[in-house]
Symmetry: D2
Subunit: 368 residues, 4 copies
């Protein structure tokens, strides 16, 4: 069987302009070589989706381009393989899959090194400049729709018994795993601070603990999120509105500081604090960032031989390793899923997510 029954058209949300989402009927896309068509079963909302909703795509903004009025956002989705493009045997029709965002071009220097999320042909996937790069929901059509086309490189099998909703969290866990990879990967028994209990921060706690990091310390501003962090594996939580986080980390580590910080808050002073939290030779991963340039005390970086790693997305096949931990039930990712809506209800879902109604964390659209 090479395909399931597929309609000619589908429902899909498109973004006409800032805050202008519109539900349309679009042709179901056709998978090319090394691609598959996925029937989307569930899609979650990510903070980046809000950025796109309010400002447009980063590529448009930075490139000074007009809105592509036919563009469908959404990138944290999972579904069922429905049709195979030429040469695909890595998956079968009917397989349940979650998706990575980035399919690199496979031909630039970074892709050839394995750094496909840093593809130098980012965004080049149209017309005569088609280099094959895809970042669904960012540069190619995404998941707020009934169907999407994905490159086989972006597919991660979803194990039996994992719900559709939980599977939308695989790529979030993959981003956390990638962050821990770049920090060195050998973190069993090493001390880790995660700053910011958003989805990537919470997943960094969960993945870090699953790999044996100890202690795992989570900082944040809301007790409910910190409590969730505890359930996901944090050994200690620090509410930064009640306690100075640098002092607390020093206290919890007998003055020694920690080996690693995963910065997931984007707070303006987060990097400076992280540099005070790690010991000499420590490492910091930035998975979030402030909206504007912020003062950074670079002397600390140099004097203390600190390395800082910006990460974009979920590289190094980390999503597969994160999915393996979830398959082995090493942590309860589904604790992060708080709300479910239908595809038609995307605007309401966005409202819940943006206003954190009922303490929403992961808001998921069940599409099929």
């Amino acid at each position: 069987m090479n395909s399931l029954s597929i309609p000619k058209t589908m429902k899909a949300w498109v973004l006409d302009g800032p805050e202008q989402l519109r539900l349309v009927e679009k042709p179901v896309p056709e998978p090319g070589p090394a691609e598959v068509l996925i029937r989307i079963d569930a899609v979650a909302i990510c903070g980046t989706d809000v950025e796109i909703l309010t400002k447009g795509l980063p590529a448009w903004i930075r490139g000074g381009l007009p809105f592509n009025k036919n563009f469908t956002p959404g990138h944290e989705y999972m579904g069922t393989v429905t049709k195979l493009g030429a040469g695909v045997d890595e998956v079968k029709v009917g397989d349940r899959v979650a998706v990575e965002i980035h399919a690199g071009c496979g031909r630039c220097q970074r892709c050839r090194m394995g750094m496909y999320t840093s593809c130098l042909n980012y965004g080049l996937n149209y017309g005569e400049h088609d280099k094959g790069h895809r970042a669904n929901g960012f540069t190619t059509d995404g998941g707020f729709a009934e169907y999407a086309v994905n490159h086989v490189n972006t597919l991660v099998h979803v194990p039996e018994g994992m719900s559709d909703e939980e599977a939308t969290l695989i790529v979030t866990a993959g981003t956390a795993m990638y962050g821990l990879d770049v920090l060195g990967g050998l973190i069993a028994g090493e001390s880790l601070v995660v700053t910011g209990p958003g989805p990537i921060g919470l997943m960094s706690v969960a993945v870090g603990k699953a790999l044996g990091a100890a202690p795992v310390i989570l900082t944040g501003t809301r007790d409910s999120r910190l409590q969730l962090g505890t359930r996901l594996g944090a050994d200690h939580v620090i509410n930064v509105q009640k306690e100075n986080p640098v002092e607390a980390v020093k206290r919890l580590t007998q003055g020694r500081g920690v080996h690693y910080v995963m910065e997931c808050s984007g707070a303006p002073n987060a990097l400076n604090e992280a540099m005070d939290m790690v010991n000499r030779g420590g490492r910091i991963c930035l998975a979030a960032f402030p909206g504007e340039p912020v003062p950074v005390d670079l002397a600390k970086l140099v004097r203390n031989n600190i390395y800082v790693y910006g990460i974009r997305g979920e590289g190094n096949s980390a999503t597969h390793r994160a999915a393996a931990l979830m398959t082995q039930k090493r942590f309860e990712a589904k604790l992060m899923h708080t709300h479910t809506f239908s595809l038609n209800e995307l605007p309401t879902a966005f409202t819940y997510f943006r206003e954190r109604i009922e303490d929403a964390i992961k808001v998921v659209l069940k599409t099929h």
Copy 2:
């Protein structure tokens, strides 16, 4: 300009069976997406070509397949870009390029890690199983012909002022560079033994010395080759027929042994000797191998914490870095080029190479 004037057919050698080379007229191939057509200007003979000539392709032999009677071998070639496939702007028509052998599929786990010479879809490039892997001269048509199609990932620019003949050596230098990469790469001031003064061994001497290794010690059986090694950068040479190479290495290193061995001889006892040459914690790269299983004293590996790296080809974009050293004239690769023939004279060229007539090292066919 998207193409130079291109004939419909071309001269090409095909291998009908062991030792059965035949010159035929074939259609000039057509480049697909991400590929180019190259007019071959020069092609060198490699030891592996002799293996293929005498036994057939490794894939045929190990797979029990019949000879593909239309197959054209040859993989150490360079030429002029003649036509661009879809989406290619990495090179222009008229560019002079040398080629790497391996174009990975870009979608298996190894390719996604950047290990494209270890592609798990090796050889899968035909029909419904087309994964896009190419290894020209091994699994896809090669360079003993007037034209060949290459994936853009395999192209390395040839600088102005470098002769066609010298440019055929770029991929050999790339293999040597890759070997030094896997040994750790930081070899300035570290001690290096190269065993076997064949083309890869000689290039390992040259690249190792260019990167600052010291001392560089070359072992072999023929003084003429060892003298060439000296001209390419060896600080010491050891004729193993006159001196025990392990003792000589110990003597030259005040008993300490060396940090690294590049094994390029394929001699039955080479790995055992290499383990005696390196110090505790040392590393050995195997770029050659004996035809049959040989006794190895694995206790030395474990007791001395030695790492052994088998390498296949020219991974990690090492060819580009090797070409950069050649462009900067860090060593005289052309010293290794000893004989030139025309495309029609391939059988004679093979004879010179196999029988080492006039001490032949690199025998090159000038094709255009």
Copy 3:
């Protein structure tokens, strides 16, 4: 408090010659700078101890030296810090500690790189050649005694609630962890074969599974050991007397082979089989070795770009990371502890271990 009450002399076993263990009264040793005196509470027997018992110390044998008739073997011990040498504040008197074997000299090139188990001054710790290297039980007095001196670098804290007997297994787990480190460390969701269900093999299963490797496949000859492997985390076990292990691994991995092999059997054909088990680009760690040179098909290493890592001991501070997993109760190391004797009963304990009486695995002497 800088010391507990310490006697002048102690009971200690010494090795007069092959198979000639003798219980003597020796002076309690004195810790120097950066050293501590440990009251040994428990010590396990390792396969290497049997080697030493039957043949003498490797250094004596290979160096042609006479037996040091005052030498005390034993290296898998734990105990209580009893006295601090000058400058020690890393531990306190009364702390419970397990020990690593290797204290590097800290001044050779390998130690400066962090490769302290590959210290180039191995064995140099006496008289005018004192470089500070210690490998207790191998080059300096070990743990079949009431007290031992250890460098602070070799100390690993034992958590509350972990029994003395279990704590003797920390260094075994550390060796397994080190093996997984050199294989790359990022093994969650990657496939791992462990060959040989001895203590290091079983611990490799446990640590590998704790880090998320999947599947973990254990091979061996005895069902009881394989069953223990299952309890420690193996997803599949293969009795090599009932099934060809290479075929079984291929079957269990849908023909793909595995990413990693930890070779812990020392069987003559183990490396050849491991090379057939891994896929192209796979990696093999040798933690055991055959007593004599064995035929190895090096062609496979080169053609398939396989890396082989000999490991000596428990480098890279892996013991600390392994202890962290044990502290977090990620696997039940104590399943491997089968028998307990008193210090006086060492000969009997050796007999149980060597003859595998009552399926003995880890045989422990409770010393205090």
Copy 4:
């Protein structure tokens, strides 16, 4: 011979307070185990020496400590081994040596990893807290004197034929080499920008070019320094007062940006500019820093997957590798040596260095 003739006392400069250098007569120090006494033959002035002269030692300032009025600064020195401490056979009396600054404690987690310049016992080398850390000229007496004691780990042999003055530059070259190490080390044919033509910047140009980086681009404000950069290997120089350096780098790289930036200027906007100079996935090493926190656009770090490495000093035995390149005369380090004074003339030498009189770069005191 274990010692040369050694006086009881020596001339040495001490720092009484900011700007208060005083020449005194001090006892010649005694080497301990693993240490040697060096007769200082030449010592250069570094920018950090000026920091210390004007503000005191970093440890005093940050720790709120009073000036140690007996402290001798100076860290870029070389000399002759004059006496061996216990257990030293790595060098002989009479050997000419240059020195690294950092001798790690050898027992903290960072030293055990090989990161001895990030020693967690930094500064702990006195009295009961003696962990053996030494950073001569920073935490222990340095080189503005006739003699100094050094740990064997800090010694680098000076080859015959290299002048004393040139040898003082070995540690500067080592710092540059270490920076290139952390950037990945495999830089042949890769593009490198060096910002700031001070001694470390100029050496980064020289070492980078020696290892084959291409192009090497140097930015700065003074044409005389940029010209020197050209003589040391820069392919292009950019005077930032005449041209926007980011635009110039883009122009020189056909819009692609570079792979690596070595930031050696400490300019307030240098990191922001470096992030605009590198391509996606690029890497930046900070070897200098601004005196105060500066605005940094962290979004670029994250969006472009950029890694930033602060480096302290000359880790990873890079000094040995740098010395090997100098021994092989791969670049003319001595071009950086501009002025020579006697030990008595230290204040004048400082004036030349600080006021860049006669375009002073490396100002050296010849001591013996």
